[in-house]
């Protein structure tokens, strides 16, 4: 078992969002940071559930 948390290369873990478009995603991220702005929430409708898919490659100690 590898314990060094810096061991994994950058492409080890990919996070793939199935949200419709990158523009929506960017808007969602931006508005997520500003959730205290109630008007922004109403306007952009960021208060919607999103699906996130994470993929990770298993690294064998022998690799």
């Amino acid at each position: 078992m590898v314990n060094d948390e810096n061991y994994f290369p950058e492409d080890y873990i990919t996070e793939e969002k199935t949200s419709p478009s990158e523009a929506t995603e960017e808007k969602y991220k931006k508005e997520l940071d500003e959730q205290e702005n109630k008007e922004a929430m109403k306007k952009y409708g960021i208060s919607k559930p999103v699906r996130i898919i994470i993929k990770a490659r298993i690294i064998d100690d022998k690799d």
Partner: protein
């Protein structure tokens, strides 16, 4: 207008509204690749009975319990959706789902039933401006469970407030009624 108590308490409580809670749809491993799909719900409300949550907390805090009988594994929660999105049936559009629409006209019966909590499936919540959530609807049909430890941890940083006792009793009763409804042909 629903009353919200914003004071934080460490233990989970019925009526807690918590932000950005994850629901794991699946976790699989195929050909050396682990794939995890999760849905992040912007807001959820805790529906598990408060006495169960209190007993769970007390048992876990006890340094020398005689047993762990009162501990619970998961907590029942339900999502809150923006009422404006509910009207258009677009509240799950990011998941590729189109839901039934409800009239925005307050004179229409479906709108009236929603706002007066006469629709068994939904519970409408009108928040004060001091609360950072728009008017929302709990969808009882979309209840799910989350790991109790996970929810307790995430509550530390994602707690919004707790529905006041009287209002949460109403929500609890309506949820129980929805679950125990009898479908007739």
């Amino acid at each position: 207008m629903i009353k919200i108590d914003k004071s934080y308490q460490e233990r989970l409580a019925q009526g807690d509204i918590i932000q950005n809670v994850e629901f794991i749809e699946y976790a699989i491993e195929k050909a050396g690749i682990i794939e995890i799909s999760k849905i992040v719900f912007p807001y959820i409300i805790v529906l598990t009975q408060d006495c169960d949550l209190e007993q769970d907390y007390n048992n876990r805090q006890d340094t020398n319990p005689s047993n762990q009988d009162k501990q619970i594994i998961s907590v029942i929660v339900a999502p809150l959706y923006n009422v404006e999105h509910i009207y258009d049936g677009k509240h799950l559009s990011e998941l590729g789902l189109q839901m039934q629409t409800i009239s925005k006209n307050p004179k229409k019966s479906d709108n009236n039933n929603l706002k007066n909590n006469n629709t068994p499936r939904y519970h409408f919540l009108e928040f004060d401006d001091a609360v950072e959530i728009v008017d929302s609807v709990i969808d009882f049909k979309h209840y799910f469970t989350v790991n109790a430890n996970y929810l307790k941890e995430i509550k530390k940083t994602h707690f919004i407030g707790k529905v006041d006792v009287l209002y949460r009793e109403d929500i609890s009763q309506r949820f129980a009624a929805f679950l125990s409804r009898i479908g007739l042909p």
